[in-house]
Amino acid sequence: MSSIIKLNDISKIYRTKTIETQALDKVNLEIEAGEFVSIMGPSGCGKSTLLNIIGLLDVPTTGTVELCGKPTAGLKDKALAHLRNETLGFVFQSFHLIPTLSVIDNVTVPLIYRKGAKNIRRQALEALEKVGLGHRVNHMPSQLSGGQAQRVAIARAIIGNPSIILADEPCGNLDSKMSAEIMDLLHSLNREDGRTIVMVTHNEDQARATDRIIHFFDGRRVE
């Protein structure tokens, strides 16, 4: 199998005038296409920073990131945006739905920025059907429960058919029943659609259900 995500000696240092914080320290990581990987570790160990760097939302201080075999270093805003749009789908802990848009309009967001996208509304409806929310298309985010909001976020993450889904504590704000539903959904996306999923979690049970667990401590991978 080939590596769909490859991190080489990734370090991330946050600097202010008075303090320097090393969030990641020479991290090397390879994730195969179709894998479901969990990243675990205590708060502040650099899990989310790592996910942000994989998702091209942040840039490493040193080291390189390759996605689908392509190096991302030195890419301009437009190329990075294109790569995020085509390759990556994000699921955030706090859902991050746009409050001024309806459910279906939230789901269409990735396709709005894709050149040549057609039948956007139909595709959004299909994505919502897939997460079991085909009956809530015209609701506003404020009218949804936490579980429903996270399903909408997953529909948004998959509408562009990305090969990688990055989930940052997707069940962090949900109760156990809703968490189970969301995890089932992520597993089915991995098994049935073959999507690569990288998930940050604090939950050992959820992590054990994935293909591989990567532990982090103080910005470093620990075995």
């Binding site: 939302l57 945006a81 920025y113 562009g160």
Partner: protein, 429 residues
């Protein structure tokens, strides 16, 4: 993008009512102030009723010559000069002489003892070929009326109405204007008092005033007439006039020069300065007006910019989400500008309505007095009216829309640029 911007603007409008209201009202006031400015300048400078031939109209109102004791005297043109030179100008399509009453003239309401003041001009029939009043009934006085000095008068529709006549009934009626009885021969649509050149409420033959042939002793080419010329050849007309005065001064005034102050001058120059003896520094006037316009645009733009910066802070998360899913800074900047443009357009429409309301009330006189040099505005009994072709001119719509776009870009681009350059991770926090 346009539809998305419209939808988003509508949602923002509904969800942030206070922000939207302040933004729209602020925009409306800014657009109203700039549009009032634009309308008054449009009326002063463009070819509007009744000065449809404005760019071809030349005027000469004041001459000057040195008197024997070194004093300078500034009269108008005499009837002798009109006959010898002006009426014979070879490059003029039409030439008219007129006398403006120096003060408002009382007109007496028939059958009553009451009177009111009007702006009256004594002219010749050619005047109506240069200033194109629209006659709602009757016609101007004829060449025969003029030649015979028959007291006929064309009055404005507002004067007719104030006299208690409708436009048709007025024809043939006798009214006393300035203690002379005139027969009303025509009723024309009144123009705007912003226009110094054409704003009159009554026009009668100047031959009804026995003093029209008066000329000043020692300089027979000077008198009490002003001249209006319709021509496409300003330089040739000027040469012919100057040559006439030069010949007269050398033969009759021992070489004492008759000064024309660069007249005849265009209506454009006249719009900026009603006193011919003072030179018009057009570059300075343009600079001053550009500065006023800039302040009218920049002050609200800065205020609105502050408002937008506050709103962008609250929308930082949304911008981060959109960037996460593939939006570029450029596409988001366009989106923010489109959203903002819709709000600005709503403000712009309200601003236009506000402009029309303000210019339809007595406030119009106040605005016009500030922005116009017309000496007709100095008298409190003169009310300024903007006709519909002045208020609803396509150029004004175009300008208002242009102001909207400039205001939108000025107010939104800096806060949007700063918000969009914020790292995605910080936006999502």
């Amino acid at each position: 993008m346009i539809l998305t911007g419209l939808k988003q603007a509508w949602q923002l409008l509904k969800q942030n009512k206070l922000f939207s209201t302040i933004y729209i009202v602020g925009t409306a006031l800014a657009i109203a102030s700039t549009t009032i400015f634009a309308i008054i300048y449009y009326v002063r400078l463009a070819s509007v009723y009744p000065e449809y031939q404005r760019e071809r109209i030349l005027t000469l109102t004041t001459l000057s010559y040195e008197m024997p004791k070194g004093l300078r005297f500034t009269p108008g043109v005499s009837f002798k000069a009109m006959e010898e030179c002006f009426y014979k100008l070879s490059d003029a399509e039409a030439v008219s002489a007129y006398i403006d009453e120096s003060r408002l003239t009382p007109i007496f309401v028939p059958g009553k003892k009451s009177s009111f003041d009007i702006v009256m001009r004594l002219a010749d029939p050619a005047y109506f070929n240069i200033i194109n009043y629209e006659f709602v009934s009757g016609r101007p006085f004829s060449q025969e009326d003029f030649d015979s000095g028959i007291p006929k008068v064309a009055i404005s529709d507002r004067v007719a109405s104030s006299l208690g006549f409708n436009s048709v009934d007025a024809i043939g009626q006798t009214v006393n204007i300035g203690f002379v009885d005139y027969e009303i021969c025509g009723v024309f649509r009144e123009g705007s008092a912003v226009n110094n050149l054409s704003y009159v409420q009554a026009v009668a033959p100047y031959t009804t005033n026995p003093a029209y042939e008066f000329s000043y002793p020692g300089c027979a080419v000077t008198g009490m007439l002003s001249v209006m010329i319709l021509s496409d050849h300003k330089d040739a007309v000027s040469r012919e006039i100057n040559e006439y005065f030069r010949k007269y001064s050398s033969s009759e005034m021992e070489g004492r020069k008759i000064e024309t102050y660069g007249q005849p001058r265009t209506a454009l120059m006249g719009a900026f300065n009603s006193n011919a003896e003072f030179e018009v520094d057009l570059a300075r006037i343009i600079r001053q007006n550009a500065l006023i316009l800039l302040v009218l645009l920049l002050v609200p733009a800065l205020n609105l910019s502050g408002l937008i910066a506050g709103r962008m802070d609250s929308r930082m998360g949304e911008l981060g989400i959109r960037k996460s899913f593939g939006a570029t800074r450029g596409s988001l900047l366009c989106q923010v500008l489109w959203e903002n443009l819709w709000l600005t357009v709503i403000g712009g429409v309200l601003g236009l309505l506000l402009t029309w309301i303000l210019l339809s009330t007595d406030m119009a006189s106040a605005f016009a007095t500030i922005l116009s040099t017309s000496n007709k505005l100095n008298d409190p009994s003169v009310t300024v009216r903007f006709t519909s072709d002045m208020l609803f001119a396509p150029a004004i719509f175009g300008l208002a829309f242009l102001f909207c776009v400039i205001l939108n870009i000025l107010s939104a681009i800096i806060p949007a640029y700063y918000a969009l350059n914020r790292p995605i991770v910080k936006s999502l926090k």
